[in-house]
Each structure stands twice: as C-alpha cells, then as structure tokens.
Symmetry: C2
Subunit: 411 residues, 2 copies
C-alpha cells in the first residue's frame, strides 16, 4: 500500500532558527541530579487511585464537554483549591475567578511572555534563574538584564540602579521576573522588607512583577516565608505556581493569578481548548483534603535528602565546594573554585551515569557561572545521592585536579 | 497586608497584535451547536473510573518522573495503542518510535506550524476547513491559498493548477493541509484515486502533506474509508489525530506521526515538559481493550443524532437549506440561499440560546461562505436538536424572511 519515496527536502522547508532535533530518548541515567522530578516513594498512589475512581464515577460524564463545562479558566473546584491554598499559605485574597489553570507553570511562562514580549524588549531577571525562563526570553529576541543576588535574593540597590539606568535610556522593561520564595537555583527566601522595597520600585517605574512561586509550598519546617508579592500588591503582580512540585511533575496542573485585565488576555492567548481535565479533577479531589498533610510530610522527606546531599558534598568536595543552603525545594546550588569550568565535566560525568545542571544554563550571563552547578535531590535515593556525589567528585578530580582532598579520593 | 494601587498601565505593555480579552465564561447556551463536544451519555464513566483506579494503583509511583520516565514522546503503551489503531484502521505501518503524544491535536497543529512557518510563507488549505487551523496560519502572517472542494473533497485539477501557479511565481508552499477523512466541515471522504493523485502532485512539487485525521475514527457503519495519506507515502506526510473526538474532548490526548527528521524537531519544539500523563495512562488503559467496541457504538449513536438533525433541518428549512451529508463525525454543514448572511444571525440566535459556527469562520476566504454554517450534533439530545433547529429557523426567518415555509413557521 505504501510508496517508498524520499519525501520532500525538509531541511529547506523548516523555518529560520528552528532548534536542533531531539535525540532518541534512552532512559534516565543512574545518578539523575537534574529536573523537577519528585520522590517516587512519596507519590500517594493508593489515595490517588481512590480519588481518581471517585471523581470520575461522580463527574466523568462531564468529560464530554470541553473543560467539563467549567470554562476556559479550568475546573472550578481546583480553582477554589488554588484560592484557598494561596490564602492560607501565601496571603493572597483571591477567588476562583482570579485563577487560570495552566498545563504546567511552563504554559504560564509562555502565556505571560506571549502577552508582553516582542523582539527588542527588555526584562529584568535574577542573575541566576530557572534555565527554562531564561531560554524562553532569549528565544523571543528579548534582552534580559541580570539582577544581582545574595543569599536573601535580589539586591534591592542593584535593582534600583538597573531600573534607573534603563529609565535613563528611555526603556521600560516589560517585567521583573523573580522567584522570591525558594529561589531557583539558590533556594533563598526574599525577606519582607526587600519585598516591600521591590514592589515600591516596580510601582515607581510602572513595571509589572512576574512572580514564580513553583517551589513556595516546599519550605522547610520552622521557616516562615513572607507573603507572596501578589498578596502585597495584587495590581502590580502576575503570579504563577504549580502542583507539579508538591504532588508529581508528570501531572501538568499549574496556575496563573493576575488582575482581570491581564488574566482575560492570558485566557484569549490560551488556544489549547483547555488543560487536561482528568488531572485537574484528580488534583482537586486529592488535595482538597490532603494538601497540608501531604506537603508537610513531603517537605520533611526532602529536607532529609538535602541533608544527605550536603553531607555527601562536604565529605567528597571538602572546602572546594561553596554551598547555597536552600530553605526548601528540591535542589542544591554549588560553587566550585573559579578554575573549574563545569561544562568540561558534562560529558565525562554522563559517561559515569551522572547528570547535573551546569551553572551557565541557569545564568542570564553564562560566563558568570562557569564554576557553578545545580544538583537536584528529590528523585534519587539517599544511597544514590551518596554514591552519585562521590562519583561526581571523582570525575571532577580527574578532569580538573579538584577537589584535591575528599572522602572519595582518599578511598 | 495588601496595598491598593492601580498597577502598571498594562495597555502600554502588551505586545503589538495581542488578541482581544476574553469575556467571563457564563456557561453553555441551551442549544449548543458548536465545538467538538461529545455525547455525555456515551462517556464510559464506570469503565474509565475502574481503569484510572487500576492504572494509578499499578504505575502511579512513576508520576514522580517527568513523562513517567517514558521520555518526551509520551507514555509507551499509549504510543503502542496509536500505532496499533493506525495500522488496523488507517493502514499505517508505524511503531511507538514514530508517535509523539500531544496535548490535543491543537498542539500538533501548533508544533507543525512552529516547525515550518515564517511570516510571508504560503500554505494550501481546503477552501472550507477547521477554523482553528485557518486562524493559526493567518496569525503567523502566512498566506493561505484555498483549495476548491466538491462532495468528495479536494478537486485535484484545482490543486494541480494552484501548485503550478505558485511554482510559476517561484513559491514553494510549506504544506498542503487537508482533512481527507471526514473533512471538517463538509464531512466528505477523499476517494483513493484522489489520494494517489494528491500525493503524486505533492511529490512532484516537493511539498509536504499535513494530514489531520481528527474525525477519521468516526465513520458511519458500512462506509469504508481509504487508507490514510501517511499510509500511502510516509515520507511525504505529517499525520495528526486525536482521542478527543472518540472518547472525550476534556481529555487532551492526541498524537502526531511523522518521519523521524520531522518528528525529532517537533519533539525539540515541544517545550512543555510533557503532556498530561494521567490522561495518557487512562486512555491507554481503557482503549487497549475497548477501542473498536466503543467507537462502533459511539458512531451508531452519532449517526442517529445526525439523522435527527437532518430531519429537523429539512422539516424547518425545507428547500432553503442545501445539506452536505457527512459520512461520519459530529457536524453538519449547510448552505442557505445567497441572500442570507449568517453573520447577521449570530446575535439574535444567541439571544434565544442558540450558537452555531458561521461559515466565514470556517472558510479561507470568509466572503465565500457568508450563507453557510456548521451545526454540531454530538452534545445536544435529540429533543434539543429538534427544538434548537426549529428555534434557529425561526430566528433566520425573522431576520431574513428565509425559510419562507417550514414546519416551524407553519406552527
């Protein structure tokens, strides 16, 4: 039936600037220290199965309608859950009408970028930030100005200077993108006074704040995070968050919260005929009764894994590694001596089954972070963390002579 | 805690060309004759609930990994199901490696457009086609050349002429977009000889065929559709399809099949960290054992609803309505006398709770379809179909004097 032909010359048909082709997926490496994966032992399998069964039996017929008839903002009970969670944990006063459910917070990033950004525009981004946020901005031909960070987040003086410098050039940046609560990758929490100062500057310059709180629900016990920026000045802020990190990343349920003139445009730009409804129903059904309990337990497990990883890094790298001790989340940011270019470690590490995020991919100015890297700790077991960090230190020593002394090398 | 401020002047911050804001969703109208909704009584609620429970209990822990560890092409068993279904029903010889799971076939459209189209490009599109496909092309600043249709689909002579005319101008179109099997909106099936001729022309001109088979599984009993274009010349065709229409549109599980050099680029462009996995697992679990039985029963119910709608249209509109009798699917395309501009009916119909697709929104050249419209019949009950079509005929008569004689007006 089929004709064997060579097909058209696709290389001449692709649009300009198309990215490189994907390789074949060959499975995850043994020591997988990248990505927002979670701890497989912490997925509440039996409860999710029971919730899915219950909600589908009760409301399954509504799947015959786009968005189950709940409209383009998504499943009503999930929007209620978002509003309730944001009120209790993050200080927001919003209702389901202020919430747009998105397919992962990546769709939130895409929608906000699609609303505001055109080639040649300027945005302000923390100097170290989520790689997917930086690459999205750059793919649009938008100029990202890095904002210096310290161990409490954005340095306000530097933000003020950056805004003034742009104003002097007649440039109004389209937004200040910040991850104020469990900053990615440094794990910091922006103090209340800095939040107030940041908002004051944003107001004075007429610049929206784009607040990404993907990890804000995973703060270690005993640490209190200030309210979200959106809670402090709703008109000035576009807020996104996710259930991927608190429940499971293969579930693509996340949300955006914004003033209606903004939200109404994000809804118009969301031309996907709705996000997956079964997952929305499942997240709402499970988290309506289990959110606090689940997140508290998960955070406890993640903190133990972090402690295990810090112990391993200190044992294997000794004083060669400067650690940014995160106050929650799923990743640890490290700084090695300046003579180590972590990009040279990627290939030899991969050959030993180790993957990590090289600092340059998490930096607005890649050249500023060549000796830094991110290690994620939620997915691997403690034994894998210990073994993987030791193997990584060995690779690093073989390639660079650093760390000179470590548990690994002494063995 | 929160500060009441006016916020930035967003109207000055939006990118150029941003679409109009969405209104608040206020629920569906009583007579909802638009959209790919399905029959709520045909959602296999108990089976879906049982399947979700079983698959989550068995594999739920894998949700802790992006794509459940199956890689960016999606859940392996669902890709196996797609390959098997396409082999048995559409003649394709493909494996899971050739399949990319997408979030609805709309994401397939977006990815293929993102791969191939740049402003100023040209594509060929059936003169009447899916509104979302036409609007996407136009939003990219791409020129769509309409291909004349008759009651068997694309007119091959016209396609040949269009390709020659473009060649004479030095233009290679980026693709021929076609819905060959249950064409949207006319419901036709392209005969085998035309498929062969279309592919021959596509090969001769070096133009890819972009084949959309969203409705191909819903062909009326007794009608045999020829193989998919992809089955007849895999290297020449990019193929998309969906489970939204055969199971439920609130489930966003669809797929793209393409030669690897194309598929590998679509995977690179799919930067959403994966499509919703619970839905992929659920569709695979249910349809692995129920596909043929479910689709056969659903098609039977849809055919009954179509017959009910045709009967109602003939009763209410009489000879004023020319029907395109679909050979499957969920919609009926009508042509009213030329003096009726259906756009003038939108508002008065909506005031009576009736929504329909005006022809101009489903036409590459809107001015060519001002007296045509699409009525979807899967969602409403037979009573709603009868009542809604009668109410619509009344609106039409009140606005235009047409239909002069109908069951409705005589009452």
């Amino acid at each position: 039936m089929s004709t064997t032909t060579a097909g058209p010359d696709y290389s001449r048909l692709f649009r300009p600037g198309v990215p490189e082709p994907s390789g074949r997926f060959t499975g995850f490496p043994k020591f997988n220290f990248i990505g927002g994966h979670n701890d497989p032992t912490r997925v509440p399998v039996a409860d999710l199965a029971a919730c899915a069964e219950a909600v589908l039996r009760r409301e399954g017929a509504s799947l015959a309608l786009y968005n189950c008839g709940h409209g383009p903002q998504g499943y009503g009970p999930l929007r209620d859950l978002v509003a309730d969670k944001l009120k209790r944990h993050r200080g927001l006063s919003v209702t389901r009408d202020d919430v747009l459910i998105t397919s992962g917070s990546l769709q939130g990033l895409d929608l906000v970028n699609d609303l505001l950004l055109a080639p040649g525009d300027t945005v302000l981004v923390e100097e170290l930030s989520y790689g997917g946020a930086i690459s999205r901005v750059q793919a649009k031909g938008v100029h990202a100005v890095p904002l210096p960070l310290d161990d409490e987040g954005i340095c306000i003086d530097a933000l003020s200077n950056a805004l003034d410098a742009l104003q002097a050039k007649g440039v109004t940046p389209k937004y200040i993108y910040t991850i104020p609560t469990i900053q990615n990758p440094t794990g910091s929490i922006l103090p209340l006074a800095r939040r107030e100062a940041l908002l004051k500057l944003a107001r004075a310059h007429g610049v929206p704040v784009f607040e990404d709180e993907c990890y804000a629900d995973l703060v270690w016990a005993g640490i209190e995070a200030p309210p979200a920026l959106y809670a402090m000045d709703p008109a000035q802020v576009i807020h996104i968050g996710s259930f991927s990190k608190t429940l499971a990343p293969a579930l693509r349920s996340a949300y955006a919260v914004a003033p209606w003139p903004v939200l109404a445009r994000l809804i118009s730009l969301k031309t996907d005929a709705g996000s997956a409804m079964v997952e929305q129903m499942l997240v709402a059904e499970y988290f309506s009764t289990h959110f606090d309990q689940h997140v508290t337990a998960l955070s406890g497990v993640l903190k133990e894994k972090l402690d295990c990883m810090i112990e391993a890094v200190e044992r294997e790298f000794g004083s060669a590694a400067e650690l940014f001790r995160p106050r929650g989340g799923i990743f640890l940011w490290l700084k090695l001596p300046a003579e180590v270019d972590v990009r040279t470690l990627v290939k030899p590490a991969a050959e030993r089954g180790i993957v990590f995020n090289p600092g340059p991919e998490w930096a607005v100015d890649p050249g500023s972070a060549t000796s830094q890297l991110r290690l994620c700790f939620a997915l691997p077991s403690k034994a894998e963390i210990r073994e993987g960090v030791a193997a990584f230190a060995k690779v690093c020593f073989e390639q660079t002579g650093i760390p000179q002394q470590s548990g690994n090398i002494r063995n």
